[in-house]
Amino acid sequence: MSVLASALVSLALLAQEENRLWFVEVEVRGPADRVVLDCGADGVTRAEGPFLAGEQRELRLPVPVKSPLGVDGLDALPLPRLEVEPPSAGDGRVLRWSAEQPAERVARLSAGLQPLVVAPASGTRPQAGLPELCVVALAGVVSWKLRARPALSLLLASAAAILAGWLASRRASPLTPVAVVLFDATRELALESRAARDEVALPVEGLGVEPPTAALELRVDASGRGVARSAGTLRAWRTLPRPSLSAGENAWRPLVETWVRAGAGDWDPRGPWPVGSPVPDVSVEGSDPPGWLAAVPVDGRGALLGRTADGEWVRGTGFGD
C-alpha cells in the first residue's frame, strides 16, 4: 500500500512529467578514460575520468532511465549496462540503485505546493527552414531531369535526403530559459523549476523532458557535475531555501512586478518591490499576472506572485497570513 501511495505521489507530483534522473552506485577499476552507463532508448550517462591504473572507486552517478512507478519502481528495473572506455583497459559494474534519490525529495516537497506549475516552454516546434526546403525542391527538379537514369537519380536523392535531414535535425525552436520558484510560507524549502532547450547544468534533483520519449545524454564528472542534453525541452527541478519574502520585508531579491491576493480576493497589482522594504500596500495600474502562474487555489490563504529583473518568477502561498 505504501508502495502504491509513494508511486502515486511520484507520478502525480513531479510536474506531470516523468523524472528522468535517478542515481546508481557503480564500482570502477582503472585504468579507464570514462565510464558509460547505457540505458537503452532512454539515453546514456558518460562519466569522465580519468581512472588511474590500480584505482578502484565507488561512484554515485545519475542515469536517465524512466521509472513509471517512481522511486519504488526502481528495483523492478534492470540496472543500466556499464562499459569502460577504452574497453581493453579497466572494468566496472553497477552495484545497485542508490538508497537516496533526490527526486523523492522533490516529489514530497511538491505535494505541498499544489497546483504545481512548471516553467513554460515555447509552444512552437522545430520547423523546416529555407535551406532544407531548397534542398528538397532542387533534388526534385534534378530527379525529374534524371528520370531516364534511375540509379544516378537515386544516388543523388539519397545524398539530398541525408543533407536535408541533417540540416533539419539541427533546428530548434527558440526558447528563452524561464525559471519559477514556488514556496509556501509554512515550509522551509522552496522548489525551483527551470526550462531550457538542449541542455541544463547538473547537478539538479529532478529532470523532465518533453517529449517524454526523447533520449537524454548525461555528461558528468566523478562528482556528478556536468550537463544533461536532449533534443527536447528539458525541465530541471531543485530544492532551495525558502525565499525571504514576507509582508514586512523583502530580504530576497528585487521584484520588478508584484501581485498580492488576500484570501479569496482577486490578484492585486502592487508594482515593484525593492529589497529591504515592506510589500507595497497601494494598488497600481498594471497588467494581470500570467494565467499559467495565477491559478492558486482559493483556500482563504494569502498568495504572492512576483517577477525579478532576470525574468524569474516566484509564487508564494500563505503569504501575509
Binding site: 534542398v135 530527379s143 518533453e210 517529449p211 526523447a214
Partner: protein, 204 residues
Amino acid sequence: MSARRFAVALLASLAVLLALPALRSLREVSLTGAVLLAQLAIASAPRSAGDDAWRASLWSAGALLPAIGLAVGLDVARGVSVSRTLPFALAGWLVLVAWSFAASAVGSSTRARNVFAGLWLAALPGSAVLWAALAWAPRTSAEDHAPGAVLAGVNALVWLQRSTRAGGLAETEASAGAAPLLLALLVALAVWLVRRRHAARSLP
C-alpha cells in the same frame, strides 16, 4: 510515375512538412509517418499506363527520398531518437517502393491493371476503411484484440497512420512494417504474373 503525380506527391510532402508543425492541434504528429502516408496514398494509386516497372518504381521512390529525409530530421530535432526514426523511415520507404513497383508493373495490360486496381482497393483504402469502421463498431465482448486487428497489421496505411500519432513513432516498431511490405510484394508478384500471362497470350 507521371510528372503530374510526382509533382503532386512532392507538393503533398512539402505541405505536410510545412503545415503540420504550424497547426496547434497537429504539431505533435510524427512528420516521418505523415509524409510517408501522403506519398504512399499518391504513389500507389492505380495508373493508366506503366513504364519499365523497376526503373519507374526505383526512380519515383528515390525522388521522394529527400522529403522523407527532411521529415526524419525534423522528428529527430523534436526529440525522437534516430534509432527509432531511421529504421521506421527505411521500412516505410521499402513499402513505398514495393507499392510503386506494383503500380508500375501493370504495363499496358488491361487485365493486369484491373487486377492491380482490385488488389489495391482491397489492400489499402478498402481494408483501411473497414478497419476504421470496425474500430468504431460497438463491442459485444471483452476480447483483448479489437476487431480488425489483422487488417491493421497488414495495411500499410493503417501502420503509417498509427505512427503519426503523438508519440506514435516511439511506440511503432519498424518490424511491424514487414507484413505490409510482404503484402505489397505479393500484390506486385500477382500483377506481374497476370501481365506476363496476358503478354504470352497476345503473341501471334
